[in-house]
């Protein structure tokens, strides 16, 4: 018992250490370029963790999540530009709107399985992009079509979620990431988490055990699209410029899925691990080969994905967790006898 406690203590203290390092990093790392890269890394880890609620736990493969990013970004931006409403409030509005859209999309598509579901969500994502690209005014709301929307950097500060330095963005997205990780941790251990996993793996068996599979998936979809939209607002406020091609792109939807599949879908650490591995590849290929070989990162992702699917179909989190546990057990060996 006592030994178990120390093992647990070690785990908690290593988590704390990671926390201290990530929160303290901007004090040491002053370069805005590196902070920018880290912010995007956290953003993708956050997006993938949100995606994971549906794509991981519920066992389906949604490939249209960029649309929810778009809904979040456009909602808060339009509300801010046209009505002067704080993006924090716009963030919530966008989230709720995305959750409603998520449920509407989920109602017909969750009846489909495998590739059909994935295709339906791609169609939905692309549909939204094409619509936004071709609509200048949606009722009273100015979407500005393919030209996108620019947020003038006036009244900078926390209330308007706008900053001149990178550090505040870094802390906001880090807190969002920690929150979403905590949420997925609690969900994975809750009734809903068990029901989602069961319904994803063997829907018939799950139903016979009292699981309303369709309803569980809709709840997960609503949460996932809500959380994804929050990241959309963050992204809009971070870049202060949104246009349909960059924010509702298929590339973004795919990159989220790549990160999840390579890191390990359905696990809590998988999305973070995936982002940690893939984001640098993506950034450096853009920095060094952006002009000569655009899209190189997607080729690399594809290759890595094939290899991972062959050798570690449950994602890279699995072997790494095993190594971690082995290390943990070596550091604090099995208690000799029970007290």
């Amino acid at each position: 018992m006592g030994e178990q406690m120390t093992r647990q203590n070690l785990q908690i203290s290593s988590l704390l250490l990671v926390g201290i390092i990530t929160f303290g990093l901007p004090l040491v790392l002053r370069s805005p370029t590196y902070l920018h890269i880290l912010i995007l890394l956290y953003l993708y880890a956050y997006l993938t963790s949100s995606w994971n609620l549906v794509g991981g736990f519920a066992g389906v493969l949604p490939l249209g999540h960029a649309a929810f990013v778009g809904i979040g970004a456009y909602s808060s931006t339009i509300l801010y530009l046209q009505y002067g409403i704080s993006p924090w409030l716009g963030m919530i509005v966008g989230g709720i709107l995305a959750a409603i859209v998520g449920i509407i999309i989920g109602l017909p598509t969750f009846k489909m399985r495998g590739a059909y579901f994935a295709l339906a969500t791609i169609a939905f994502g692309e549909g939204i992009r094409v619509m936004v690209e071709n609509i200048d005014y949606l009722g009273p709301f100015n979407l500005n079509g393919p030209r996108g929307l620019q947020i003038p950097p006036r009244n900078v500060g926390l209330t308007n979620l706008m900053f001149t330095t990178k550090e505040p963005y870094y802390y906001i997205i880090l807190i969002m990431l920690v929150a979403v990780l905590a949420l997925t941790y609690f969900i994975s251990r809750s009734k809903l988490g068990y029901y989602l996993n069961a319904g994803g793996e063997e829907p018939e068996a799950a139903m016979s055990l009292g699981v309303n599979v369709a309803r569980c998936k809709l709840i997960a979809m609503a949460m996932s699209s809500f959380l994804t939209a929050l990241a959309g607002t963050f992204y809009a406020q971070f870049t202060l410029f949104i246009h349909p091609k960059s924010i509702i792109s298929l590339d973004l939807s795919f990159e989220i899925a790549f990160i999840a599949l390579i890191g390990g879908r359905g696990s809590i650490a998988g999305p973070v691990l995936g982002a940690l591995l893939l984001r640098p590849v993506s950034d450096f290929s853009r920095i060094y080969f952006g002009a000569t070989l655009p899209g190189l990162h997607l080729i690399i992702f594809g290759t890595v994905l094939v290899l991972v699917m062959i050798y570690q179909p449950r994602g890279l989190q699995e072997p790494l967790t095993r190594v971690y546990h082995k290390l943990l057990y070596r550091l604090i060996p099995e208690p000799a006898g029970t007290e």
């Binding site: 809750s190 996993n197 068996a205 799950a206 016979s208 055990l209 699981v211 449950r314």
Partner: protein, 241 residues
């Protein structure tokens, strides 16, 4: 008190009538065996009762309440649980996880569900295997896991669809013991089975169907001696033991 009643249950698949005007009822606390040749419509009847398909005609009553178009998850909450002929474990999850999914039907807290699940695993002698991934179990243990999961939902009526197929004789004997114990604990059991030795030893009442129709019913001895049953299913060599 009848816990389950089928009245003129009929199920058509296109032009094929899988279950034809089936009438039967189970008393509370009974073990009822349903037998018949392959393709006789046994599993279809089960699927109608469990809410997988709505019946084409006829009515199903559970506890006096008509349940014709009830969804499987609601039936489960009412106290009707089932196993699948082709086992459907959540393969990538542990045995304990599998059973906990069932326990959550009546428990909301994880700790309660876990406690309940461990009790059931102990009862079915599966507690040593609680951390094994369900996909790695032997067929006998998978069948047992099906029962464990169903029991975790605290059923009043348990539908067992060929839980003994593919088991070794000693394992069949163990399973017979398990099912008898279930009845002792107050659960009504409805079994489909092909292993005559087991069904004869278990059932209080046996119903035989052939091409979807009931051809005989009665206590095991009567059914085993019935001419139609011997012709359609048991074969001439089957002797009453």
């Amino acid at each position: 008190m009848k816990i389950l009643e089928l009245k003129n249950l009929t199920k058509d698949f296109g032009g094929l009538r899988a279950v034809d005007n089936l009438n039967l009822s189970i008393d509370d606390g009974q073990i009822l065996g349903l037998i018949g040749p392959n393709g006789a419509g046994k599993s279809t009847a089960f699927n109608c009762i469990a809410g997988v398909y709505p019946p084409s005609e006829g009515d199903i009553y559970f506890n006096g309440e008509k349940i014709n178009n009830e969804k499987p998850w609601n039936l489960c909450k009412k106290g009707l649980a089932r196993t699948f002929q082709i086992v459907k474990p959540f393969s990538s999850k542990s045995v304990l996880y599998n059973v906990m999914v069932g326990s959550f039907a009546n428990k909301d807290k994880r700790a309660d569900a876990e406690k309940k699940s461990l009790e059931i695993l102990k009862y079915l002698h599966l507690e040593d295997k609680k951390d094994i991934r369900a996909g790695n179990l032997t067929i006998a243990d998978r069948k047992r896991l099906e029962i464990a999961r169903a029991l975790a939902t605290e059923p009043r009526l348990l539908l067992l669809d060929e839980v003994m197929a593919g088991l070794r004789p000693t394992e069949v004997d163990e399973m017979v013991e398990i099912i008898k114990n279930l009845r002792e604990s107050g659960i009504t059991v409805f079994v489909i089975e092909h292993i005559m030795r087991a069904i004869m030893a278990l059932s209080d009442w046996i119903v035989v169907i052939h091409f979807g129709q009931k051809i005989a019913e009665g206590i095991p001895e009567t059914v085993a001696a019935d001419e139609n049953v011997i012709k359609a299913y048991l074969g001439e060599e089957y002797g009453v033991s």
